[in-house]
């Protein structure tokens, strides 16, 4: 039986609680300006998105650029549950995520036979189809968008973010996660070693879609309004940029990427016309000089804290 209460986990837990408490304190005492709060919640949403896309693109090595499609499914389904059927918030978020996961399963089963560029373009096509479907659904507002009350607080956003990251991180460390990594490294070798590649690819894709749907649901229940235009493939590119910026295949890298990219976007919000130009130049320069992203496949760990703990504490990554 592994001891969960080793030094590393306790320090990580304390760090998370401290971060939460500081921000919550600032919000409760009304010190935090609304724009900062919005940025922080967006960071939570984007961390979920980038971590889940990292699972598909970075860990399993399947190039998907239809993540905004799953996000849209989660957003709209949860909006239907909470605003049209007046269901509770958590149920709405959960149903949104589950439906997105089902969508991921349906899309993943046939398309994951494709490789590289073809898979990328198929997922891109899927994302666009989802957007057009919602655009043509009159009862969720069509192109004008769907308005719903904002129920997500910092507490919910933060908790769900931590939940997602912990689940995905543990998945990557598990037997299944290792199978996924082996597919990334060499699919043929993995298959000949007895890894059921299709099963693990679809598994990673479905889990990724689940968390994309979760993020979409949080987004919908925070933003007051959702429009099909928000979930165009530009959003998928945004998420992809975060993952690549932080480092494909590094969970912590993806988180760093999400934080940095959201902060850059927030800083450049005053000059919207230049925002995407600067992003684009940055992206090209980054790819030319450091194609592996900030972290590469390295992880930022608290491993140095666990050396004095028991032997099981430092599970290598």
């Amino acid at each position: 039986m592994r001891n969960w209460f080793n030094r590393k986990n306790i320090v990580a837990l304390l760090g998370i609680v401290l971060l939460y408490a500081v921000v919550q304190g600032l919000i409760v005492f009304d010190i935090m300006p609304p724009f900062y709060k919005l940025t922080l919640i967006l960071i939570c949403i984007y961390i979920i998105l980038s971590t889940s896309l990292n699972l598909i693109n970075g860990i399993t090595g399947q190039f998907s650029i239809g993540h905004a499609g799953f996000m849209a499914v989660g957003a709209y389904v949860s909006a239907m549950v909470t605003a049209i059927m007046h269901g509770p918030l958590l149920l709405g978020i959960f149903i949104g995520a589950v439906v997105a996961a089902l969508g991921g399963l349906l899309v993943g089963l046939p398309t994951l036979r494709l490789k590289g560029d073809y898979l990328a373009i198929a997922t891109l096509g899927f994302g666009e189809i989802v957007r057009i479907v919602f655009l043509n659904m009159e009862f969720v507002g069509g192109a004008a968008g769907f308005t719903l009350p904002s129920k997500i607080t910092w507490t919910w956003a933060f908790l769900l973010m931590v939940f997602s990251v912990v689940i995905i991180k543990n998945f990557v460390g598990s037997t299944h996660g290792r199978a996924c990594i082996s597919i990334r490294e060499n699919e043929i070798a993995a298959e000949s070693m007895g890894v059921n590649t299709t099963k693990y690819k679809v598994m990673a894709f479905t889990i990724g879609a689940f968390f994309a749907g979760l993020a979409g649901a949080i987004y919908a229940n925070y933003m007051y309004i959702i429009q099909p235009g928000t979930f165009s493939f530009l959003k998928s590119f945004d998420i992809l940029v975060m993952v690549v910026l932080g480092g494909l295949g590094s969970i912590t890298g993806g988180i760093v990427g999400a934080v940095v990219y959201t902060l850059i976007s927030a800083l450049l919000a005053g000059i919207p016309e230049w925002r995407l130009v600067i992003t684009a130049v940055f992206l090209v320069v980054l790819m030319i000089f450091r194609p592996t992203g900030i972290m590469g496949t390295k992880e930022f760990t608290l491993g140095f804290l666990g050396k004095k703990g028991d032997k099981n504490a430092t599970s290598k990554n």
Binding site: N57, F63, P110, T111, R113, L114, G116, D117, Y118, A120, I121, A122, L124, G125, F126, E128, I129, I132, V133, L135, N136, I188, F237, L240, V241, V244, L248, E273, W274, R275, L276, V277, T279, A280, V281, F282, L283, V284, M287, I288, P291
Partner: protein, 296 residues
């Protein structure tokens, strides 16, 4: 009965005009993909630049249609070479994902950089063709439709001739077949790749001008959707093969105008992407592609 068949013919004419535009864009995609295996996401935006330079040539320089078309093609050929040299060449040996992301970056740069240069305002394309219509058995042929189809066919024929019967074309085929072997045979692969980008971008520019003429309006984001659809056309016909995108483009144009004609024009784009996914699942190498077996 008669009116239905007229309607069908009318839609076929519309579909062919639209399809010839898609085919021109798709040709550029497929050439670049065939030679360096890169989905050049910026291709649709090169088309946008082409549309704007055509607009500039017609309204500011007061050129007639053909010189304006040439002007736009030459400027975009230069742009294509520039993009290749600055953004793609340093990544020749990097991973495919890095190259793809660079292409996305270049695409965003052209879209939003273009927005700063020419503003987001939608511009009206000047009428370059007389508004004459020819009626043949109840079907309208616009003068513009005919010129568009002709331009597209002539350009495709020129391209086919270049690739099949000239020395450069032979070199292009060689590089596409095996880059290292071509290099060993004394082919300057870098120049050939640049040349491919120049031709592809020039075709995109021609498509851009035609698109401006066809839809009357241009804006900096006009390249995104046609760019994606042209990619669908390229995949449909078989990417990397010259006749593939021509047939794919024309088919896609026909399907779209049929869908619009049935009164479901909001679903038009969804149908295009659905076709893409179906083709990829059923026959990933496209209608004309050969199945390549994976060897270990």
């Amino acid at each position: 009965m008669d009116s239905i068949s007229t309607q069908i013919f009318q839609q076929i004419i519309n579909g062919l005009s639209l399809g010839s535009i898609y085919a021109l864009i798709a040709l550029g995609y497929t050439m670049v993909y065939g030679i360096i295996k890169l989905i050049n996401f910026a291709h649709g935006d090169v088309m946008m630049v082409g549309a704007y330079s055509g607009w500039f040539a017609v309204t500011v320089l007061h050129l007639p249609f053909l010189p304006a078309l040439l002007f736009s093609m030459i400027s975009c050929a230069l742009l294509g070479v520039l993009i290749e040299r600055i953004a793609y060449k340093p990544l020749r040996n990097a991973s495919r994902i890095a190259a793809l992301i660079t292409a996305i970056g270049v695409s965003l740069f052209l879209e939003y950089g273009g927005m700063i240069v020419v503003t987001a305002q939608v511009r009206t394309y000047p009428p370059v063709f007389p508004d004459t219509r020819y009626i043949l058995g109840g079907v309208y042929f616009k003068y513009g439709d005919i010129v568009m189809l002709l331009t597209a066919v002539v350009l495709m024929a020129l391209l086919h001739f270049t690739v099949q019967y000239t020395k450069v074309g032979k070199a292009m085929r060689a590089v596409s077949y095996d880059k290292d072997a071509a290099l060993l045979m004394g082919i300057n692969t870098n120049n050939i790749i640049s040349f491919t980008f120049a031709i592809g971008s020039a075709l995109a520019a021609a498509a851009g001008v035609l698109m401006g003429v066809y839809f009357n309006t241009i804006d900096p984001l006009m390249g995104i959707i046609p760019g994606l659809k042209a990619f669908v056309a390229a995949v449909l016909g078989g990417i990397g093969i010259i006749p593939g995108p021509m047939v794919g483009g024309l088919m896609l144009g026909l399907v779209e105008s049929v869908v619009s004609g049935l009164g479901a024009s909001t679903w038009r784009d969804a149908v295009a992407f659905l076709i893409l996914i179906l083709v990829l699942i059923i026959k990933p190498s496209g209608l004309f592609g050969k199945n390549v077996r994976e060897k270990v």
